[in-house]
């Protein structure tokens, strides 16, 4: 374990010491979809006690564990629990399994292979905030699997609070917390933006705890094993394990569970390693950051180690024969089209940014200065952080692919501009 505050050194484990982590997901490709298998694997949840002391103990345990959200923003979960607890009226818990990010598969994988862990977590969270209802909002691909799990629990009378499953809207911004609330309440999957926060007044005006499904699965394990157990993996700053979607030029792309702080090379090795030399990695998601392959491959996979948020855990291995500028242009266009079109800076700024990146990719931009200014100006000026995420992505591309950008401006491209590495849903753009 690195000592506190010194996580910047690479921390690649020798091969024989490498630990395969399987806290959330069962080993290999095994499934733990049925309730019986789930109980054999994890045991029963300790019973919730409906007292203030129990709720405080649980919140403190989650705080000590250092659990943060796995939906993208890495916000401390205990803080959100406290914000909802402090409200007087009846709360609601929403398990967010929207997974609007087209390249991410980790929430769907978790809900298919270990749905009861997520539902356990939602149930405990509901007891902690004294919620009267849990809504499980899931991607349509996994609706049937989650329905089956909820039915099993209902027959077994496992949960004090009723669980209701809702199919998520299929758009990029639909997974934003207030958009989920808006979708469930009014069938409008766009962010609400204005205060009050959902923790104060969310669904039907009630205090609403929105947590990513993976966050809830970790919470279910902390409820069973405690904070010290949780912290036995990971780094002191960023304890635990996490799910990652590994994608791009890799032997066996897919979802894996890794220990936070494992070297990036080691993380890619979990997907069989790169198939070709890599020039860069996209870390975090389509709101994430491009990082150069070197030295990133030897750095610890943690927000601190990389100096970049881990977001929803996407890692794209980007090969040398693809064009980072062209790929960023495709992403920027897709994300601009996915704007909910409610806020001026997002509605006008994102298409302008996408236009400029496209022109750069085609080697005919003369407005690099404007592009750079827009990327700064747009920050914090949407009702949700969609524009900030796009700005982060494009800014990191200009940094990491600076040489390629210069080459494009001189009229040539070293990559094969037509080689697409990043998945974008067909017809996903309006």
């Amino acid at each position: 374990m690195p000592t506190h505050g010194l996580v910047l050194q690479p921390r690649a484990l020798p091969r024989e010491e490498r630990v395969e982590v399987s806290r959330l997901l069962p080993d290999g490709t095994a499934n733990c979809a049925g309730l019986a298998d789930h109980l054999v694997r994890h045991g029963e949840l300790p019973p919730s006690r409906r007292s203030l002391a129990w709720r405080e103990t649980m919140t403190t345990e989650i705080e000590h564990a250092g659990l943060v959200g796995h939906g993208g923003a890495a916000f401390p979960t205990a803080k959100k629990l406290k914000a909802v607890i402090s409200q007087a009226s009846r709360a609601v818990v929403i398990a967010n399994g929207t997974e609007g990010e087209p390249a991410s598969e980790k929430d769907r994988t978790l809900l298919t292979r270990a749905p009861h862990l997520v539902l356990d977590g939602a149930s405990v969270a509901a007891d902690i905030v004294e919620a009267s209802e849990v809504l499980v909002v899931v991607h349509r691909d996994v609706r049937a699997a989650v329905d089956a799990a909820v039915d099993e629990r209902r027959s077994a009378e496992l949960d004090r609070v009723p669980l209701r499953v809702v199919t998520a809207a299929d758009r990029f911004v639909a997974g934003e917390a207030s958009a989920v609330v808006n979708w469930v309440a009014r069938a409008r999957p766009v962010p609400l933006g204005r205060p009050p926060r959902t923790s104060e007044r969310g669904l039907d005006g009630r205090p609403t705890l929105v947590q990513n499904v993976e966050t809830l699965a970790h919470l279910a394990l902390i409820a069973r094993h405690g904070a010290a157990w949780y912290r036995a993996l990971g780094t002191p700053d960023e304890p635990g394990s996490m799910l990652v979607t590994l994608l791009g030029a890799l032997e066996e792309p897919g979802v894996r569970e890794i220990e936070i702080g494992t070297s990036v090379a080691e993380v890619l090795a979990r997907a069989g390693g790169p198939t070709t030399p890599l020039q860069a990695l996209l870390v975090g998601g389509y709101f994430g950051s491009w990082l150069p392959a070197h030295p990133t491959l030897s750095l610890p996979f943690s927000a601190r180690g990389l100096g970049a948020g881990l977001g929803a855990g996407l890692v794209v291995a980007f090969p040398t024969d693809a064009c980072g500028v062209a790929e960023t242009a495709r992403l920027a266009r897709y994300l601009a089209c996915e704007s909910a079109g409610q806020c001026g800076p997002c509605l006008f700024g994102l298409p302008a940014i996408a236009d400029e990146v496209e022109k750069l990719a085609e080697g005919r931009s003369n407005r690099l200065g404007d592009l750079e200014r827009w990327l700064v100006e747009i920050e914090g000026r949407g009702a949700c952080s969609h524009p900030d995420g796009v700005a982060r992505l494009v800014s990191s591309a200009l940094r990491v692919f600076a040489v390629e950008v210069a080459e494009h401006l001189e009229g040539w491209c070293t990559g094969e501009g037509e080689r697409h590495v990043l998945p974008i849903p067909p017809g996903g753009s309006r």
């Binding site: 409610q342 806020c343 001026g344 800076p345 006008f348 700024g349 302008a352 404007d370």
Partner: protein, 90 residues
């Protein structure tokens, strides 16, 4: 002493007509599409009255002033409360 009032824009309601920047050029400029950029969100005391005017005059009821309640002897924001808004309650 630092200001205790912060100005914010409801980005969904705002349609970029630009009145706020004319009233409060010290705090607000515009982007290339005419939407406000808050250069400085803390309202200095001498602009307090003008800031209230801006809130009242915004045609889309998109501006809001929030009081920052501060801890004694520290500038940490503890809680905010709305001192002026034309936003309709959602």
């Amino acid at each position: 002493m630092s200001s205790r009032v912060r100005i914010r824009v409801d980005r969904i309601a705002c349609d970029g007509r630009g009145l706020c920047g004319e009233i409060l050029p010290e705090l607000i400029t515009f982007d290339d599409w005419g939407f406000p950029i808050i250069k400085e969100n803390l309202v200095p005391e001498d602009l307090d009255g003008v800031a209230h005017d801006a809130v009242e005059l915004c045609p889309k009821l998109a501006l809001r002033l929030e009081a920052l309640e501060q801890e004694c002897c520290s500038s940490k924001v503890v809680r905010t409360s709305v001192v002026a808004t034309s936003w309709t309650p959602s």
